[in-house]
């Protein structure tokens, strides 16, 4: 928990994002048909999803912790992580749609990965709706923790597994060449830096939201 209040990893996050912005625009990228210069979107669109995965994983961990401890703090961490995850989810969907318009011809071409990402999005919206539907605090925390634990593997299957088993326009899915086949090491390195950078950014925003929420919670329980 002390980690949350430390500064070094926040500075690191900012420096790493700056690295991806500067290197992402300036490095040599492979000359590929169809994507052309938009291959640089890889450095910004894909890390949105990685950031989302990381905060959703943290959320599940704290949901499990909540079921074991019944500590309301754990529930607050879980819900704020989902809030931030949904935000990055939306960013991933929108940036993906803009990119798709330029490379696949349409914002939404009913690509399996697009469709299942939309379903997974609704799954997490349902989590937030479910929370608001239950008034009693402990019951709400317990039921939403259980829902969260079940929603996570479904989301993984929807986004990571199912699109790979059919023909998707995304690289590495169906008959398409894997991402590693069409890009070079430079592109991948910047992408991995972006993964770490944006994941840390997402965690940072989640901790800020949690700390505000905790103050609100303490105030409400005093009244």
């Amino acid at each position: 928990m002390k980690f949350m209040y430390q500064t070094w990893w926040k500075v690191l996050a900012v420096l790493l994002v700056l690295t991806t912005i500067i290197a992402g625009f300036l490095i040599q990228v492979p000359r590929l048909p169809i994507v052309h210069e938009t291959i640089r979107n890889t450095f910004f669109h894909v890390p949105m999803w990685m950031a989302m995965f990381i905060v959703f994983i943290i959320s599940v961990v704290y949901s499990i912790k909540y079921l074991r401890s019944a500590d309301p703090k754990h529930d607050l961490i879980a819900v704020e992580c989902v809030n931030v995850g949904v935000f990055f989810f939306v960013l991933g969907l929108i940036t993906g749609m803009i990119w798709a318009r330029n490379t696949w011809g349409e914002y939404w071409s009913n690509d399996p990965k697009q469709n299942s990402a939309a379903i997974a999005f609704l799954l997490y919206c349902a989590y937030l709706v479910l929370r608001n539907a239950i008034d009693e605090e402990q019951k709400r925390a317990r039921i939403s923790a259980i829902y969260n634990i079940f929603a996570f593997p479904v989301m993984i299957v929807l986004i990571m597994v199912l699109p790979r088993m059919t023909d998707s326009l995304h690289p590495g899915n169906g008959g398409n060449p894997a991402f590693s086949k069409i890009t070079d090491n430079n592109v991948r390195m910047i992408l991995y830096v972006g993964f770490i950078a944006w994941s840390l950014m997402a965690v940072w925003i989640a901790t800020l939201r949690y700390r505000i929420r905790l103050i609100e919670y303490k105030q409400n329980s005093l009244d």
């Binding site: 209040y5 500064t7 926040k10 900012v14 994002v17 700056l18 912005i21 500067i22 625009f25 300036l26 000359r31 590929l32 048909p33 052309h36 210069e37 940072w204 925003i205 800020l208 700390r211 505000i212 103050i215 303490k218």
Partner: protein
Amino acid sequence: MMKKLFSLIVLLLSFTAVFAQNGADIEMADTLRSSGKIYVVVATLAIIFVGLAIYLFSIDKRLKKIENEK
């Protein structure tokens, strides 16, 4: 021997020429890059991001203050 080596070098060079041709066919933003104007875009984005980061840090600081008051 010299002849063989020479033909090998010619072959290799022709291969690189073909390779370059292959890439040059594909349209990239080469002008933007060669004119150096891309640096303007990168600088703008970097400044916007640093500004947002400073904003986040200030929220962090204010939160710390409130947390310590309690």
